[in-house]
């Protein structure tokens, strides 16, 4: 049995505790901010059959990292993308929620782009992590992977009735601070959401958590509260983040926040040990249980998103 969060956190929501993981993962069904879980079997059963479309989140591939516990992050990314290809319902697109690379080096971006291409996965939307913008404020990242809608790099799009928003919270970071969206992006977000009806399902994605998950380790965004204030009137909001290399989640009204696993290496649970960073002592034969992808299915007419986290095993 596994807990719903990767790292057991006693006292968290009782109904999330002790959910059985069967095989590759758990199917998450979200109904107006309340989660329901069922074992992932035969492609998710009726929920998958009802889905109007699906998409997959991958995160934190850290191409260029080459130390314990994972000296071959290219292979684990390839294996993750093979899982995408093996899904019974072909996802319409992928979201990569940042830290494509470890050090923003051109050859690391080359490798990432090559793996995505050779894996023949559908169109991928990217947002950068702090590891992708080192030294050039993301110029190379945006040139290669940006949607080029706004000069700041953020963007939105509509897909089959769901509004998707990609935010950038890893630039212009201030000494002593956390992730940052900035006044320009917040103004744009407000304007972008203004014409939408409250019934429109929203999916907002960014690299760093958009809630104060664990600020002592930098796991949060300084001005996330203002962004979230613009989301509160909507009936179904899912916020998808990466950065912390493990699954954590939080429900706040109709907004559900999720962080994703990495395809490269796990990090410790919040506050466990002296600092974040790779968990080096993970045995190689159990590493894959810490890595994975996330599939999201949209069920039309139910304002529901079914979220499935799948281990790389």
């Amino acid at each position: 049995m596994r807990h719903s969060d990767d790292n057991a956190n006693p006292g968290r929501r009782q109904f999330l505790e002790c959910m059985a993981w069967a095989g590759a993962g758990t199917l998450w069904l979200m109904h107006g901010g309340v989660l329901r879980a069922q074992p992932l079997s035969a492609g998710g059963g009726q929920a998958a059959a009802d889905a109007t479309f699906a998409f997959v989140q991958v995160s934190d591939s850290h191409i260029g990292f080459h130390k314990p516990p994972n000296e071959d992050v290219a292979s684990t990314l390839r294996a993750s993308l093979a899982k995408v290809k093996a899904q019974p319902v072909t996802p319409d697109f992928l979201l990569h929620t940042g830290d494509l690379t470890h050090l923003s080096r051109p050859e690391e971006f080359d490798t990432l782009a090559g793996i995505m291409q050779e894996s023949q996965v559908p169109k991928t939307f990217y947002v950068p992590g702090e590891h992708d913008v080192i030294g050039d404020n993301g110029a190379e990242f945006f040139r290669r992977f940006g949607e080029k809608q706004q000069s700041g790099g953020w963007y939105s799009f509509d897909h089959r009735g769901v509004h998707f928003v990609g935010l950038i919270n890893v630039l212009n970071l201030k000494a002593g601070g956390l992730g940052s969206l900035g006044a320009d992006q917040l103004a744009w977000l407000k304007k972008d959401l203004a014409p939408l009806s409250a019934e429109t399902p929203l999916v907002v994605f960014a690299h760093m958590p958009l809630w104060p998950l664990y600020p002592p380790w930098g796991w949060g965004t300084d001005d996330s509260a203002e962004a979230v204030s613009n989301l509160k009137r909507f009936g179904s909001v899912s916020v998808l983040n990466g950065h912390i290399h493990q699954i954590q989640q939080k429900v706040e009204g109709n907004i559900t926040f999720y962080t994703a696993r990495s395809t490269a290496y796990p990090q410790p649970a919040p506050g466990v040990g002296p600092a974040p960073g790779p968990m080096k002592d993970v045995a190689s034969d159990t590493l894959h249980t810490y890595l994975g992808i996330r599939e999201v299915r949209h069920v039309q007419g139910r304002q529901a998103l079914a979220i499935t986290d799948e281990q790389l095993s």
Binding site: K67, E130, H131, I134, G135, A175, W217, K280
Partner: protein, 113 residues
Amino acid sequence: MSAWASMGVALLLGFAVNGASAAEANAPPAKVMQVDIRNFAFAPHSITVPVGTRVNWTNKDDEPHRVTSTGNQFVASQALDTGDSYAVTFAKPGTYAYYCSIHPMMVGTIIVQ
């Protein structure tokens, strides 16, 4: 003066001006103060050093870090991978606040007097 002798003088001058002014050529080498980057923190977090001290940061984490002056008072390092070092010589008195621009909650101070 032969070409060889000229080159010798140039080489000697080259050594003398490397990292210090020619007038200081006979002064003892700059004192080096080591700051480790470990567990997402600068250690020591704050140091007080005499003018002319060379501060050398070494990354001992598995995550990359980047030494960045808060007020752009000195040139930022590149991304320091595990084991990489970066050094700055502080020639003027003052308080130099800095942080890691990748993990901005990491902050440190160099007080030069």
